[in-house]
Symmetry: C2
Amino acid sequence: MKQYHVAVIAGDGIGPEVLTEGRKVLRAVAQLAGTFSVSFTEFPWGCEYYLKTGCMMEEDGMEKLKGFDAIYLGAVGYPDVPDHVSLGGLLLKIRRGFDEYINLRPVHLLEGAPCPLKDVAREDIDMIVVRENSEGEYANVGARLYQGTPEEIALQTGVFSRRGTERVIRYAYDLARREKKTLTSISKGNALGYSMVFWDEIFREVGEDYPDVETHSYLVDAASMFFVKDPKRFEVVVTSNLFGDILTDLGAAIAGGMGLAAGANLNPERRFPSMFEPIHGSAPDIAGQGLANPLAAIWSISQMLDFWEERVWAKKILCAMERLLVEKNTLTPDLGGTARTTDVGDAVVRLLEESV
Amino acid sequence: MKQYHVAVIAGDGIGPEVLTEGRKVLRAVAQLAGTFSVSFTEFPWGCEYYLKTGCMMEEDGMEKLKGFDAIYLGAVGYPDVPDHVSLGGLLLKIRRGFDEYINLRPVHLLEGAPCPLKDVAREDIDMIVVRENSEGEYANVGARLYQGTPEEIALQTGVFSRRGTERVIRYAYDLARREKKTLTSISKGNALGYSMVFWDEIFREVGEDYPDVETHSYLVDAASMFFVKDPKRFEVVVTSNLFGDILTDLGAAIAGGMGLAAGANLNPERRFPSMFEPIHGSAPDIAGQGLANPLAAIWSISQMLDFWEERVWAKKILCAMERLLVEKNTLTPDLGGTARTTDVGDAVVRLLEESV
Ligand SMILES: CC(C)[C@H](C(=O)O)[C@@H](O)C(=O)O
Ligand SMILES: CC(C)[C@H](C(=O)O)[C@@H](O)C(=O)O
């Protein structure tokens, strides 16, 4: 029997609560499937840990994570720890350190999920965003000159390597081909004449190997408009780190809200563990009260199973979530219900059990 | 009698058509007001000009523009001229060359204008975005190393000077104070640890001079979500060049569409002329057919009058547009009507005449 070992970094705020539900669902799936088992190892890292130790994770943290089949991350961020410290020391450190260069984010309106847009049918919002996740605008390269003086200058450099750009674009082409979908590249060549002109060139170049894939290109400003005006234009989307960040939050807004948005940080070659996370923040204002919606964390489990090629179960989780959303009996306050975080996890498990 | 001299760069695609209507409206306003006159001088620059001469404008073009009270720009862009050439040689060149460091874009849902959002009242969408317009991500600093080889690297550097950042933020604080509105800064300090951490610091620093202004800060990803989920959070918004580009297109999407979106590129000290433009593109597919919506170009005229401190007339134009939108008899196809570009200009003039 296959054994999957999952490293759990519940992190801050609502992280622990929502991951508890995700783990519950994964455990139930393992039991129902009977073909694999899962184990969880918890790592107490995050802002609390930082306030005690001065580090967001143990010094040999990356070493410790190396052997796992997946990392399950809750949320990172505390009001009194600067974001660039907390994220740079944990979330972004893992994304970079494990070369998780693909950030895969479904923007898919489940049946029953709320949508703030008029005149849009459910089927119209069904994309998968492939976000570059290892370099680009997030390369963390920069400087501050003449700091604190009136002449101060801050420089922030986006670094786009051919290897880094090609591999994410190729991944997206492969995905579009496999799923028989169109592929849309989102960039900004008209104003960013180095990075984005380069991106556009590579998008065209790689495309020569995929004559069967229909492609489109949008400027990021126009794309953000069309996410709202006409989302059905987009199927598989490939874009840079920063643009992917912005567009997937916008995507979450049109596809049921942050309570439903999941993201997978993948190292497709499986040389390092991949990381799965709800993309919402730590929401300290509602932490510990049972108010947080665990569906994003549960969707991340579906993405984890998908990456393990347990596709049937990945799909079943989404179906269970969809039934939950349609029935509307067990939803958290953000979705207009009165259920508590644990109720939602329990309900998804029940629906999964009923489905077999 | 005051005399305003306007340089007209109609540019490409639908640019000439829509500016014709804007000029018609401005001429009518001057006549009705009786306190000032306007003159127009046309410059035939743009992509057509480029294809003939190799330049987007005359060599001494900037010199020629210097004395005008305003530049009225249509649209720039042709399918067979690379965007970074056409824009870099005209639109961006003027923004930079005349130190038009403020890009002012209303995101204001006029009565009668279509909105793609459910559950949002008209009054909920009423913001003014102050976009940095002279440096930042658009500084045009970068390089490509090892070009054409597998080792190629493209670098794109955002340059944020204290002077450049302070002045736009200060402008926004002044505006918020004058209008008694809240001010929201939109940045991305959690991932862009040089430029955006710097931005956030300056936002706080300058704020010390404005204890009476209520402030908020959003990450750009969260902001793009809330533009859709809860736009009433935003009143005066201040943000960087790139983020402003993205957010104002998103703003246009929620506030009636691109056919209504105007932008002013201001040099507030009036050392150089300011430039007023509809923010839509050249739309070559519909050019020359009388299908283009001139309301964005007309709204730019309102912004021009506002900058000249002809506030009453600036306001009257918006009221006339609002009546047109409510009456619905004379709208172009993008707004569900069958009117032609010129009909719309004529109708706005008629409504203005009726209003005095
Ligand atoms: C927390 C932050 C650094 C992160 C990002 O910008 O990538 C988040 O917004 C996300 O999208 O995962
Ligand atoms: C055309 C382009 C360079 C420009 C920009 O990105 O600034 C446009 O999108 C705008 O918003 O005025």
